[in-house]
């Protein structure tokens, strides 16, 4: 199986990483444990939204939703030439990948906030795969680049499993060709959509929604200020406009109807 380097806007990806980490830092600093709960919930919501989008994209193209179809033509991992991925196994039931350089981790390291960066990885991949495939999908993420202990590994390893024996009949049919006798196999990959400008806005919307739900208006105001400061510091006028224009209600709609 061959892989294409997915076109990636490096600048936008860095802005995404920066916005995430600045908001996570603000939440951690201001609200401690409850702030971290908001961060994790927001990343889960973000992961679920993107996972659902990938599933819908594959289903719309009449593809089975399994680890091979999800990975062929993209993956939820960071993208671009600065991301060094080693695909060890990509099958319908199993996906193993090593990531030895990660632009998201680079940003988080530069902000001295690796622990908060890890929160993203811990929540995002679980939420993404479980939403895209099923909650029976087993996501294992170990050997983290973001870990600065006396570790021998400076890479991440992601091992994901989707076993027919753990799915019900309907889920099996949706995931595997061999469980759908009438299905005509399709070879072409369905490219995953990447638009880090849009994904940055989605992350902001998820943070604001979870902040509102968990900690209320005081937290929302602080997050809005931190977001604006960040957007201005990276000179992203589109993001500044988005933050200023969006209301609580329109942010909720933005998450629900998100597309790229």
């Amino acid at each position: 199986m061959s892989f294409k380097k997915i076109p990636c806007d490096d600048r936008a990806q860095d802005k995404f990483a920066k916005l995430y980490i600045r908001l996570a830092m603000a939440l951690d600093e201001e609200f401690d444990l409850n702030g971290c709960i908001v961060v994790r919930n927001a990343v889960k919501l973000y992961g679920k939204t993107l996972g659902g989008l990938r599933r819908n994209q594959l289903v719309a193209e009449d593809r089975k939703v399994n680890l091979k179809t999800m990975t062929k033509g993209g993956s939820p991992l960071p993208c671009g030439l600065r991301t060094d991925k080693e695909w060890l196994r990509v099958e319908t039931q199993e996906m193993w990948v090593n990531v030895s350089t990660c632009p998201l981790a680079e940003v988080w390291k530069s902000e001295d906030a690796c622990k908060l960066g890890e929160m993203y990885c811990e929540e995002f991949y679980n939420a993404y795969y479980k939403e895209a495939a099923t909650d029976k999908c087993q996501v294992n993420l170990g050997q983290r680049i973001t870990y600065w202990g006396e570790n021998i590994y400076h890479r991440c390893r992601l091992s994901v499993y989707l076993r027919p024996a753990n799915l019900n009949a309907e889920q099996r049919k949706a995931a595997f060709e061999e469980w759908d006798t009438s299905y005509k196999s399709k070879k072409e990959a369905v490219p995953e959509k990447y638009d880090y400008d849009a994904m940055t806005k989605l992350m902001y919307a998820c943070m604001m929604r979870c902040a509102q739900e968990e900690l209320g208006q005081e937290c929302v105001e602080k997050m809005k200020k931190a977001s604006l400061d960040c957007a201005k510091s990276v000179q992203d006028n589109s993001l500044v406009g988005f933050i200023c224009d969006m209301t609580e209600e329109s942010l909720r709609d933005f998450v629900v109807t998100f597309d790229m």
Binding site: L33, E122, N126, Q138, N140, L141, Q143, L158, P164, N166
Partner: protein, 304 residues
């Protein structure tokens, strides 16, 4: 920590202790093979389900014991105070990081894996690794302890197991946090609890009976009477294999392969009426089946 390692044993005593664990692996391999190879797809469903049921049982037992002794539920307590079988000398691992929230560990030599290979059941060992750790550790941590098992020795291309466990306060409810972390329970007084395990034979007899019991239960639930037949057949085959292994061991230690030798090496009691656990683990004629298919076959093979 006293009482948790094999301690200063003679080689003969160590060999018997090791065999208790190996016997569990033989049992798992034979039962798993029966379900997987004879039961078809539903057999695999049953196998995975059985492993999870076994894992839940172990985890609930450990968690209950720790809570009763006012021990916090977190990553180190699972591995130290929560121990339910002795560590063993052949196992080689390296723990790079462990705190209340995390454990990062590699396993370089796993005797479970070696025994699965010996029984030509490495692929079934992989299924065990995939299901057991998630279900057991997860259940222990109020279903919220996450296991990231990215590599296992039971996979053809891997040369180690890599575990990364996370148990974050953010995952938990307020009450679960209080039960899990000292910092969320200001009045907490450390009970200085230390696990006192029963002897090795008893520890492994418990695990032996539990894995068998849940394999049988899941086989019946998913495959009906056929499932019971598969398990019965597997028990007979497993007894024959045990007889061969015990004979080899007796020869190597220049011992007679008699009842005393078998009872020293075998974790479970050959006289099933002496084992109180069968009262609780009795569904699906579990005790009767083990007596007829395993104990009688083993005795017959060894002329006991």
């Amino acid at each position: 920590m006293s009482g948790c390692k094999f301690g200063a044993l003679t080689r003969y005593q160590s060999a018997s202790a090791e065999f208790h664990q190996d016997s569990w692996c033989f049992l798992y391999s034979y039962l798993a093979k029966a379900l997987y190879e004879r039961g078809g797809f539903d057999g695999e469903v049953a196998l995975r389900d059985a492993i999870r049921r076994y894992a839940h049982d172990r985890a609930h037992t450990v968690r209950k014991r720790l809570l009763e002794n006012n021990v916090k539920i977190n990553v180190p307590t699972f591995f130290i105070e929560g121990l339910d079988r002795p560590n063993e000398a052949r196992y080689r691992n390296a723990v790079f990081q462990m705190n209340e929230e995390e454990r990062y560990q590699e396993v370089h030599v796993c005797t479970f894996c070696e025994m699965f290979v010996k029984c030509r059941a490495k692929h079934l060992g992989r299924i065990y690794c995939e299901e057991f750790h998630q279900a057991c550790y997860g259940t222990f941590g109020f279903e919220k302890l996450r296991v990231n098992l990215t590599r296992t020795l039971t996979q053809e291309t891997e040369d180690l197991c890599s575990f990364y466990l996370t148990y974050r306060p953010e995952y938990l409810t307020e009450e679960e946090r209080r039960l899990s972390f000292k910092k969320y329970d200001p009045g907490y007084v450390d009970p200085h609890y230390s696990v006192k395990l029963p002897n090795i034979k008893v520890c492994y007899a418990i695990l032996w009976i539990k894995i068998y019991y849940y394999m049988l239960e899941a086989a019946v639930d998913h495959l009906g009477e056929k499932g019971k037949d598969y398990i019965a057949g597997a028990l007979r085959e497993c007894a024959v294999f045990h007889a061969e292994e015990l004979t080899k061991l007796a020869l190597s230690y220049e011992r007679k392969n008699d009842k005393e030798f078998v009872e020293t090496f075998l974790p479970m009691l050959l006289d099933v009426d002496q084992e109180p656990m069968w009262e609780e683990y009795s569904k699906n004629d579990a005790k009767k089946l083990i007596r007829i298919c395993f104990c009688e076959t083993l005795k017959g093979e060894l002329g006991l």
